[in-house]
């Protein structure tokens, strides 16, 4: 059930070759099924997990409640690391995560239930590197970002980058120190960044750890020499998302939808919804309908509303099939 992000990404690309027209303005795939309410759905949904997906879950819950007013929802989002224990303890119906579960977390789950949790890629996020809106920087390579944020420099940077001048900025920027903003360690964004940018290295001690994705953006908005990372859904007019280049040889790629879909943007990732689904057994109507809603046209419109990238229709269908829910 759990595939690697790379396989997923390829599926997305394959899906998109059929639906090529993705402009700057994000639109949901017209082939996604409309969601239609069914009878006999009631109960309590409790979601515990990712902070990046906190608003996404809330918006989904609001939309779902419109279809089923009697359903009760509670949303808690303190970081992806809180999702696996909640699923294992049974305190949550859904565990949204902005990274894949680690092997250790899957093992713990399997020890209790005898099967693996199911992860559904609900939408696509581009992890953006944000700078202040007045920052003239044109682009960064992952190795440079590693040298800025890490003290171990696993990507092979020769020296730590602490001044904007080291990144080629001139004038008043040349001797200004770089001020770092990041997330706390419960965050899936923290984990993803550590794994994919720092090469599992360690963060520098001068990173100011923030309690939420939005506070990273706000921190940079009020700090002219700041830099930080957060999901693309949290972008505001006060910050710029820097164009990135994976190896330094290609031209930097902007955090635009088309680059996210094509996989050219180096930090595209899935936002997962983890469910405790026994293989072979049918899901209860509540969870089944919620998942069907998430992968419907309305559910994916919510993704656009929150600033992330919606899934193409066949990827959504693939996901539903993975958990044994028919798309209607």
């Amino acid at each position: 059930m759990l595939r690697s992000a790379a396989t997923w990404m390829m599926t997305v690309v394959a899906g998109l070759s059929a639906v090529t027209a993705v402009q700057a303005e994000v639109k949901v795939d017209a082939k996604l099924p409309e969601y239609k309410a069914v009878e006999g759905v009631s109960g309590n949904i409790k979601s515990i997990g990712s902070d990046t997906m906190n608003n996404l879950m809330t918006l989904w819950a609001e939309g779902f409640k419109k279809a089923y007013p009697s359903v009760q929802v509670e949303i808690e989002g303190k970081g992806s690391a809180t999702a696996p224990p909640a699923l294992i303890e049974g305190t949550a119906t859904f565990g949204p995560m902005s990274r894949e579960m680690k092997a250790k977390e899957i093992d713990d789950f399997e020890k209790k239930f005898g099967y693996k949790p199911t992860g559904l890629g609900t939408s696509i996020d581009m992890l953006a590197i944000y700078v202040h809106k007045d920052n003239p920087i044109k682009g960064l390579t992952l190795a440079q970002i590693d040298a800025i944020f890490s003290k171990t420099r696993k990507r092979g940077g020769a020296e730590a980058i602490t001044k904007w001048g080291q990144l080629g900025l001139t004038g008043e920027w040349a001797d200004k120190p770089i001020s770092l903003y990041g997330r706390n360690s419960a965050s899936g964004t923290y984990g993803y960044f550590k794994e994919h940018v720092l090469g599992k290295g360690d963060f520098s001690d001068s990173v100011k750890e923030q309690p939420g994705s939005s506070s990273v953006v706000q921190g940079i908005a009020s700090d002219k020499y700041g830099i930080g990372y957060s999901g693309i859904g949290y972008k505001t007019a006060d910050v710029l998302a820097v164009a990135l280049s994976a190896d330094g040889k290609t031209t930097p790629v902007t955090a635009e939808p088309k680059n996210g879909y094509s996989g050219e943007y180096p930090l595209s990732r899935f936002l997962y919804l983890y469910v405790n689904a026994k293989p072979g057994a049918k899901l209860d109507p509540l969870r089944q309908e919620f998942i069907r809603y998430v992968f419907s046209k309305q559910g994916q419109e919510v993704v656009v509303k929150d600033g992330y990238l919606p899934l193409p229709a066949d990827v959504a269908k693939e996901n539903l099939k993975a958990i044994g829910v028919e798309s209607k």
Partner: protein, 603 residues
């Protein structure tokens, strides 16, 4: 100052300067001389510097408190005031419309000059590349442009030098919607069933206002169906399920009584499902009738959008409003804020569930903490023999007040939720396991956790109040033959009551403003179901709840649209402060009444 002047002896000719006979002694000179003479011996003894020091400290404290309060008040009050809508056309050819939310100044760079030159903008102010002259700072404004579904952004920065033309269009409308945030545009036509009914801005706006009452009546009807009716049906099913489960526990699942109850339950369930279906049909009818009306709007960039009239929460032509109409918009926004449920991941709509959650949690906490604290203090002060153990208990209580609140949160989660709550679930709510009922954060556990947190405050205040009751009164009571408990109950407690109430007020103020432990034991981002409602058993202490303090945290650090959330942070803070003040004033009023009652009862 008057203290200096007071002891100054009256100036007369005799106290003139000795070396200059006949020189008139001015009052200024004499004061100078006298005070210098005093300073030699008693500047500190006189106390003058201490008056200034203590007075200064007080002034500083008042200044800081007033400064903070007025910042919150001013920022919080102005959030809902409707701003005019400007339309700007830039040299680069873009046109946008929106409300100006923020202004700042920046020094343009050479790049700005190059960009400006490309668009043929002679007004671009930056210096030529290579010039040594420092460019002057220019103004730029943050415009809330809305129309997120068309532009994928809520706000845009526009520098003054980029603007080719700026106007205040007469028919620029601000439209607040239930989804997608605000919309800015000019109304063009009103559609019924897809057919154009009216065209032109003024006519369309009239028609929008005309249809409002009809739409709202249907929305209200839908709300009643969605909450009360469906709640009633749900309640019936739940009651039947509980009855069935009761029979199962008493008689076993294979007994004939269970089979009979099961048929009854299935019957109710079937009937309820039919009722659900009927309600759903009615809701769908209402929705369909409302969806017939649409408004065609044109954005500043020339795009056309069709808005469903029923999804419009509020709309107004911002540039035509008179002062009174602005006040109307302002008040209606406050009303919505106070009484509505949140929308769009808490960034819009109201905070009623959070207000309700905060009040209920605080009251429940007071109910839990006051009896416990008072009883503990009574034993410590009235019964316990003074000695090492009592002293140690007192020290422990005082130390408890210094434990970080998050530690109480962790304790509450581990003890109340995972031990007590899970135990209750095992015994009473076995059927719904593995879904926890009490074995997770909830209103009850949050109140208990905060009760522990505020316990030292109540104990210390009560002890002080008890100690302040004169011994002669106790002795008088004993002399009349009263027992110890009679004395405490009839003589000591009434006298100490105002002091105990003070402890309660302090505890409430502390508890209502506390957030950190709540994040662990039950306060959540979204829980529109109130802990007290019309569905049986009416009180749901196991439910997670929303809390104003946590709502502030959520708006400030986790909102997707942080620019729009920022003013809401101030407004919500203002509301929380007002709420705490209201709770305190109520408690103080009760205390005053008690005091008066007590005084009246004296001989």
């Amino acid at each position: 100052m008057s203290r200096v002047a007071e002891p100054t002896p009256p100036t007369g000719p005799a106290s003139g300067i000795p070396g200059v006979p006949g020189a008139p002694a001015t009052p200024a000179q004499s004061i100078y001389r006298t005070s210098r003479g005093r300073a030699k011996t008693s500047l500190f003894a006189h106390g003058e510097p201490m008056v200034w020091l203590t007075g200064g400290a007080l002034a500083l404290a008042i200044f800081m408190i007033l400064g903070l309060l007025s910042l919150i008040f001013v920022q919080g009050m102005k959030t809902f005031w409707p701003a005019p809508v400007v339309q700007v056309r830039t040299h680069a050819g873009a046109t946008m419309m929106g409300e100006v939310t923020r202004v700042d100044h920046f020094v343009p760079t050479a790049q700005n000059y190059i960009d400006g030159a490309k668009t043929g903008n002679a007004a671009a102010p930056a210096t030529q590349p290579g010039s040594t002259e420092a460019p002057a700072p220019v103004r730029r404004r943050l415009i809330r442009t809305g129309n997120f579904e068309l532009t994928n952004t809520h706000y845009t920065w526009v520098s003054d030098f980029e603007i080719a033309e700026e106007t205040l269009p007469a028919w620029a409308m601000v439209v607040e919607r239930t989804t997608w945030g605000r919309f800015y545009g000019v109304p063009e036509a009103f559609l019924v069933d897809g057919k154009v009914e009216t065209t032109g801005a003024e006519e369309t706006w009239k028609r929008m206002k005309g249809v409002r009452a009809e739409l709202e009546a249907r929305l209200d009807a839908r709300h009643v169906l969605e909450t009360d009716e469906i709640g009633r049906v749900n309640g019936a099913i739940e009651a039947a399920r509980l009855a069935l489960h009761g029979v199962e526990l008493r008689e076993g699942a294979s007994s004939p009584a269970y089979a009979a109850e099961k048929t009854h339950f299935d019957d109710i369930k079937k009937r309820s499902n039919d009722e659900f279906a009927a309600i759903t049909v009615r809701i769908n009818d209402l929705n369909r009738d409302n969806d017939r009306y649409k408004v065609v709007m044109r954005t500043a960039a020339g795009q056309e959008a069709r808005l469903v009239a029923a999804e419009i929460v509020r709309a107004y032509p911002a540039n035509q409003l008179s002062f009174l109409q602005k006040v109307g918009v302002y008040l209606s926004r406050w009303w919505e804020f106070l009484w509505d449920e949140p929308r769009e991941a808490n960034s819009e709509g109201g905070v009623f569930p959070a207000i309700f959650g905060t009040i209920v949690m605080t009251l429940l906490m007071s109910v839990a903490v006051v009896p416990l604290g008072v009883l503990a203090a009574l034993y410590l002060r009235e019964y316990a023999r003074a000695g090492l153990i009592v002293s140690m208990v007192r020290i422990a209580v005082n130390n408890l007040a210094g434990v970080p609140s998050i530690v109480f949160g962790v304790f509450g989660l581990g003890f109340f939720c995972y031990i007590i709550g899970a135990g209750i679930d095992q015994v009473l709510f076995e059927t719904s396991l593995p879904n926890p009922t009490f074995g997770k954060g909830g209103l009850l556990w949050a109140s208990f956790t905060l009760a522990l947190l505020t316990l030292p405050v109540v104990i210390v205040a009560t002890e002080e109040a008890l100690a302040a009751v004169p011994g002669s009164m106790r002795e008088g009571s004993y002399a009349c033959g009263a027992s110890k408990w009679q004395t405490i109950h009839r003589i000591v407690l009434p006298r100490a009551l105002p002091g105990i109430m003070t402890g309660m007020i302090l505890a409430m103020a502390r508890g209502a403003g506390e957030v950190a432990p709540l994040m662990l034991v039950g306060a959540v981002k979204l829980a529109p179901e109130l802990p007290i409602d019309a569905t049986g058993p009416f009180i749901h202490p196991q439910r997670s709840f929303m809390h104003l303090g946590f709502h502030i945290f959520d708006l400030a650090f986790q909102s997707p649209n942080s620019e729009a959330a920022k003013p809401m942070v101030f407004t919500t803070t203002l509301l929380l402060i007002a709420l705490v003040a209201a709770l305190n004033i109520t408690a103080i009023w009760i205390r005053t009444r008690l005091r008066r009652k007590f005084v009246n009862n004296q001989f």
